[in-house]
């Protein structure tokens, strides 16, 4: 309740700033917050990543198992994405089974990875029709300061890039790097009046949760979209956001890749 | 024959003409719900064909007491909103020396009037009107509230005809509940007639057909008696 009142107070302030062409944290309307990616932070997981988007923090862990393929794709591995909005991450999250927001988050992240064919699932077939690798992508929000969606999507692909397939543990050959062949990046925008703000922070969300997420692959194709929130979107706005999102994704992708490479280099230096 | 309009249909370009069942956006008048278009040079409105009863002050309604509190009664008026009838809105002489639940108890039916509605749709009823009373005899029938104007008829013609032909009391609640009292057999004829009106609400020559129906039924009654 107290949380709601705080949001109401913020609302007018945020709105007036937006209408005068500014964001409360001084960012441009098309500007992401600072992105930080750390991979390999959970040793027990096959792959992991902690992503910070400003103050928003999400951890994704990858676990892998050997399982049966789906009957219609006997020669392909399986991806299963789940998300848990644990009460630790926000005063508005409640314990209990995943609610619709949590389900939506997981499914939109999953769609981006699946549709961009980020993971080469054919290479995860152990024995056609019998045994394939199952990848569990578990999204664990730690601090929801807005835009868990993009933070989770970055964390998911980063964790996948960090994943080693534990073949030795399951006695099906030698361990190998998970074959990742694309880096889908989602860009979420908050729609306020005629404005759109990429990567909204929590305070900006006080004006509403009219969001649209557009995920694109490394070639600039759109691979997933989700309008989320009770609002009507004009066609002009949609096209504007669509083009901006694809362009922004390219920038974010570069940052993510360079951070992961930097991390790998640091890791190597430590080892030596 | 009036035109049927649907939500979002553009029905006028003069926002000052906008009446019931319309909404105005950027100076244009649109229909708000499914209904019949009633348009003149100076006014445009939509007469609903369907829908729940939404109370409006001054409406006569029939309701059932659901709860008794220290200072009044919570009354179900068959709308999304329950109504409150404060003790102070009950005629003083009938309240004298009685406990609240001795005046009206859970399950009792009343004919009341909507006194006021606040912006949060808290509905207050009054019994201080000559049409209002607790209902302890007779029968209550329920119809679609959008059909109520038909049961009443043009300038009350339908209801007047039912009352005079059958010699019974009828009170029509705007919420679609109708109280009928009098000779049991004639009440049954009225009830049947009301259901026909509801079913065929907008067909041609309805008043004539109902008059004919009542005369026929009355004739059957008289024949049975002789």
């Amino acid at each position: 309740m107290a949380e709601d009142i705080l949001m109401d107070i913020k609302r007018d302030y945020v709105l007036s700033r937006i209408r005068s062409g500014e964001r409360i944290d001084g960012r441009g309307f098309d500007e992401f917050r600072q992105i930080s990616v750390q991979t390999g932070i959970i040793e027990k997981a096959e792959g992991s990543a902690l992503v910070k988007l400003g103050n928003t923090q999400v951890i994704v862990g990858i676990k892998m198992q050997v399982g049966e393929p789906f009957p219609d794709t006997p020669e392909k591995g399986i991806i299963i994405t789940n998300s848990e909005l644990v009460p630790l991450a926000s005063p508005t999250f409640e314990p209990g089974p995943p609610d619709e927001n949590s389900v939506e988050l997981a499914r939109v992240v999953d769609r981006g990875i699946r549709e961009s064919e980020a993971v080469n699932l054919e290479e995860l077939c152990i024995e056609e029709g019998e045994k394939v690798w199952v990848i569990f992508i578990d999204i664990h929000a730690l601090d929801d300061d807005g835009n868990l969606m993009d933070a989770s999507a970055i964390a998911a692909i980063s964790a996948l890039m960090n994943t080693t397939v534990p073949a030795e543990k399951f006695e099906v050959g030698e361990d190998f790097r998970l074959p990742v062949q694309d880096i889908p990046i989602s860009v979420t925008s908050l729609i306020v009046d005629d404005y759109s703000l990429v990567d909204p922070c929590r305070d900006e969300m006080s004006v509403g949760n009219n969001l649209i997420t557009i995920t694109s692959d490394k070639n600039g194709n759109v691979v997933a979209m989700q309008k989320s929130g009770s609002y009507l979107l004009s066609e002009e706005k949609f096209y504007e956001v669509l083009e901006l999102s694809v362009a922004k994704a390219e920038e974010v992708r570069k940052q993510v890749v360079s951070q992961i490479n930097q991390g790998d280099k640091d890791g190597e230096n430590e080892e030596s | 024959m009036r035109k049927i309009v649907m939500p979002g249909d553009l029905i006028a370009k003069n926002p000052r003409a906008a009446g019931y069942g319309t909404y105005v956006e950027k100076g244009k008048v649109y229909a708000k719900f499914l209904g019949l278009l009633d348009k003149t040079d100076t006014s445009v409105r939509v007469i609903p064909l369907k829908g729940r009863y939404i109370p409006s002050s001054g409406d006569v309604v029939i309701g059932i007491v659901r709860e008794v509190t220290a200072n009044g009664w919570i009354v179900d008026i068959y709308s999304p909103y329950q109504a409150f009838l404060p003790v102070l809105e009950y005629p003083e002489n009938a309240m004298r020396n009685k406990k609240v639940n001795e005046v009206l108890d859970i399950g009792d039916a009343i004919i009341g009037k909507v006194l006021s509605i606040d912006p949060k749709m808290k509905v207050t009823l009054t019994m201080k009107d000559k049409v209002c009373k607790p209902v302890r005899v007779g029968r209550i029938v329920a119809i679609n509230p959008a059909r109520v104007p038909r049961v009443i008829g043009k300038k009350g013609s339908m209801i007047k005809m039912l009352k005079s032909e059958l010699g019974i009391q009828i009170v029509v609640g705007q919420n679609g509940l109708i109280w009928i009292n009098g000779d049991r057999r004639k009440v049954s004829i009225a009830e049947e007639a009301i259901y026909i009106i509801e079913e065929e609400a907008h067909t041609e020559g309805l008043t004539d057909r109902i008059t004919e129906f009542i005369k026929k039924k009355k004739g059957e009654l008289e024949n049975a008696e002789t």
Binding site: D72, E100, V103, E104, A106, R107, R114, E115, S116, G220, N221, V222, V223, A224, M225, Q226, K227, S228, S230, Y231, L232, L233, S234, E235, F238 | R2, I4, M6, P7, G8, D9, Y30, K32, F33, L34, G35, L36, L49, K50, G51, R52, I54, V60, P80, Y81, M121, A146, P149, R150, I152, G153, K154, K155, G156, M158, Q174, H202, T203, G205, L206
Partner: protein, 250 residues
């Protein structure tokens, strides 16, 4: 399983052209108890929608003092698909219910009915492809049939990319093996597409293809919109032949 050839000589597996809808049948007011209802077929989809309300919301803490609370439940009958579906909501249904509700919420005039609830229940009796769009079309008709105040009609259709072609209203095989699927819903008012109420996409499309998909969806939606209106008209036309009388004297 071998991917079948989906387009032969410019025709789709069911003989349709790229810009053609499946056969659609819509009937308004098919249920007695509900305030509004609709039965809809779109290809082999068989959908039934019911609307209850505005009505009281229980428990009371779920009420909103400033507007009606909208609930939308998309549900697939266990027998609606080849392999029996476990009853009850799965993650897919939860997501579909959410985005569908969010498509209707800004169109329904919720603020007119504070503290009340409007429930939209949609059952998929038989699923082909595009159930969420078919359900939304049925729900919209049921809402209008219930007399609920709305800004206009919500009409939904999917567009897909199949063997490099942008096609309207994909059928099951096209949905399974196509390169992209884009379900969209529009607010249509006075025969004009006003805005986008629902938008999802999965698959792979270039920006150009995305624009083409949008244009095709608009074309398809206008056709469905006319059928939705016709269905409502058909139900009420037979009743409305005389001037209504609405004097309230008693």
């Amino acid at each position: 399983m071998q991917k079948p050839k989906l387009i032969v000589d410019g025709k789709r597996l069911d003989g349709r052209g790229f810009e053609e809808l499946r056969p659609i049948k819509i009937e308004a007011g098919v249920l007695k108890r509900a305030d509004g209802s609709c039965y809809l077929e779109m290809g082999k989809n068989k959908i039934i929608a019911a609307v209850y309300g505005p009505r009281e919301v229980h428990p009371r803490h779920l009420q909103d003092p400033s507007k009606a609370v909208i609930r939308y439940r998309y549900n697939m009958a266990p027998f609606s698909v080849e392999e029996r579906k476990k009853p009850g909501p799965d993650r897919r249904s939860v997501e579909i219910s959410k985005v569908s509700r969010e498509a209707l919420e800004p169109v329904i005039m919720k603020e007119l009915f504070p503290r009340s609830g409007i429930d939209v229940f949609v059952e998929v009796l038989q699923a082909d492809a595009g159930t969420r769009t078919a359900c939304l079309n049925a729900a919209s008709v049921a809402l209008i049939d219930a007399g609920v105040a709305m800004r206009g009609m919500v009409t939904s259709v999917a567009v897909a990319k199949v063997e490099g072609n942008i096609v309207l209203d994909p059928m099951k095989e096209e949905d399974n093996y196509g390169e992209a699927d884009v379900p969209i819903a529009f607010l249509i008012r006075n025969d004009r597409i006003e805005s986008i109420a629902l938008l999802q996409m999965d698959g792979r499309l270039t920006l150009e293809e995305m624009k083409k998909a949008m244009e095709l969806a608009k074309k398809g939606a206008m056709q469905i919109y006319r059928l939705q209106r016709e269905a409502i008209m058909k139900k009420y036309m037979k009743e409305e032949t005389e001037e209504p009388e609405e004097e309230n004297e008693q």
